[in-house]
């Protein structure tokens, strides 16, 4: 990185540290923070969308749709996350490749399952075997986001389902008395009021989601915990210009600070959001705000 870094063994103190902290490997570590934040930024709204769809389905007057919503919430919430992450991603990946295989290679005569192997034609590979590494990474990250969204979406669905039922029935009845249709009641009265009941549950989920990022490595995304472990491990002088002992405690200490700061900021933002949503609501919080004003 810096010109004086060509012979790190001759450096010490801050100069050494500045070289050490700017190696290509450390750059990967810094980038992985961006990756994790980006994945969170995509996953959270997607999960909320899945949650809203799930909750709406579970409240539907159409029986099959209602069953679908209820089964989604029940199954995903009861299967251990790690099983879901290992099984579902491989199944999803193979499912996509199988569909492509059937459409792209109709005259392929060998079985797809050969013993332990899952074999599709070259053109059906997803992404193609000759695609550059970044496309593999994007695809892997996409699968990761989808899986996270599905899992956390089920929890969010349950929270939103509860929140929708917590909106006082009298509010909805009043809306109906004004002649609103079911759809209008939902959009104008139910949804705006449900957030205040949903937010405590959703903010919990957000905190859990932040801490679940190490699960990303199971899905092939090299996250911050992976790099901290890799960088902190003992490095012997034969394989690196920057030999050092077991420094994992410093790296994990740094991660601890990062996660603490991140959750703290989240808490502040969420409590402001809560104050906003409580405004004018027929809840204890709303009542307190009204009296204070």
């Amino acid at each position: 990185m810096f010109a004086y870094c060509t012979d790190p063994a001759s450096l010490d103190g801050l100069a050494w540290l500045s070289c050490y902290l700017t190696t290509g490997k450390h750059m990967n570590f810094y980038w992985s923070f961006g990756t994790v934040l980006l994945l969170l930024a995509i996953t959270a709204p997607t999960a909320l969308l899945f949650g809203y769809a799930g909750a709406s389905a579970a409240r539907s007057t159409l029986a099959p749709l209602r069953w679908f919503g209820q089964i989604y919430m029940a199954i995903v919430r009861s299967v251990p996350d790690i099983v879901f992450f290992l099984f579902f991603v491989i199944a999803l990946d193979q499912g996509i490749e199988y569909l492509r295989h059937v459409t792209l290679c109709p005259d392929w005569d060998q079985p797809v399952r050969q013993g332990n192997d899952f074999v599709v034609c070259t053109a059906a590979k997803m992404p193609l075997g000759n695609a550059p590494q970044w496309m593999h990474e994007i695809y892997g990250a996409g699968l990761a986001v989808l899986t996270f969204a599905l899992v956390f979406g089920a929890f969010a669905a349950n929270v939103l389902f509860g929140a929708m039922r917590a909106v006082p029935r009298a509010q909805l009845e009043t809306a109906e008395a004004y002649g609103m249709t079911r759809r209008q009641v939902t959009r104008r009265v139910l949804v705006p009021q449900m957030w205040v009941y949903a937010l405590p549950g959703l903010s919990n989920l957000w905190m859990v989601l932040i801490k679940a990022t190490p699960l990303l490595f199971l899905l092939g995304v090299e996250d911050i915990v992976y790099w901290a472990r890799e960088l902190g491990g003992t490095k012997s002088p034969r394989f690196t210009d920057y030999p050092h002992g077991d420094w994992r405690v410093y790296y994990f200490g740094f991660l601890l600070l990062f996660y603490l700061a991140f959750t703290k900021v989240s808490e502040v933002v969420l409590s402001r959001l809560m104050a906003r949503l409580t405004l004018g609501q027929a809840t204890a919080g709303g009542e307190a705000q009204r009296k204070a004003a």
């Binding site: 190696t23 490997k25 990946d93 590979k125 000759n130 199971l218 092939g220 472990r229 491990g233 394989f239």
Partner: protein
């Protein structure tokens, strides 16, 4: 007009086919990147080590375009089988158990002895022994050392750290991995070396006979002209050559 469209279509088709032929031979090599000197990430964050040099040379000889991928050791076989990469090149010893699930190329190292490393001399047969999970050493401790307690870790690094901080009495791993650890001075080899495993080979899907044949030919040609031995001497001093 019609023939023009046909010609354009034929041209596009042959173009795609030529493109496919030129690139069809991209082979993805999966490694762990945490087992020096076999494979590790260098300061630039790239895969480096004995297997990097070997893999690049094998691909050149077999006229394949190769791409390096890192993967967790625990899921390295499932990901090969489901097709996320085509070859495992991760210091994986050839064993009957693994051979049931995947195929191995011809070995590119002689059977490397495994060794114990500890802070001080002690009785290994009743001690706590750290090993990486899913390795031949872990199964050796589990089956052949009934008095010892096996402590498994996901990465090789953690096994050494566990021995250093006293959680385990000794660590067992391939001797070539432990040499640089011992070279640092504060720990030592204890007990006898043991010979387990049948040399290290490339892991390849059972349905990929053609790829296996290509790599076998390339490995044989490196054995014949002595380049493989030169690599072994450079990266794995103390290991037997061919």
């Amino acid at each position: 007009m019609k023939s023009l469209i046909l010609a354009a279509g034929a041209f596009a088709l042959s173009g795609t086919m030529a493109f496919a032929a030129a690139h069809a031979e991209t082979v993805r090599l999966g490694t762990e990147g945490a087992y020096p000197p076999y494979n590790f990430l260098n300061d630039a964050g790239e895969v480096d080590g004995f297997e990097r040099a070997l893999g690049d040379e094998l691909c050149a000889r077999a006229e394949l375009t190769c791409e390096w991928v890192t993967n967790d050791w625990d899921s390295i076989i499932p990901n090969l089988v489901s097709g996320n990469y085509d070859v495992i090149i991760a210091g994986m010893s050839i064993t009957d158990e693994r051979d049931e699930v995947i195929d191995f190329s011809d070995p590119y190292t002689q059977p490397d002895p495994s060794a114990f490393v500890a802070m001080a001399e002690g009785d290994l047969s009743s001690g706590v022994i750290a090993a990486q999970s899913g390795t031949i050493q872990a199964s050796y401790v589990a089956t052949e050392m009934p008095g010892a307690t096996l402590l498994e870790f996901a990465t090789p690094e953690e096994t050494v750290a566990a021995m250093r901080n006293g959680e385990a009495d000794a660590v067992i791993a391939d001797k070539a991995f432990l040499e640089p650890v011992v070279a640092e001075g504060d720990v030592m080899f204890v007990g006898e070396d043991i010979l387990i495993g049948g040399g290290i080979g490339l892991g390849i899907r059972e349905s990929d006979g053609e790829l296996k044949a290509k790599f076998d030919t390339a490995i044989q040609s490196m054995k014949d002209d002595g380049t493989l031995n030169a690599l072994i001497v450079e990266w794995l001093p103390g290991s037997a050559t061919f």
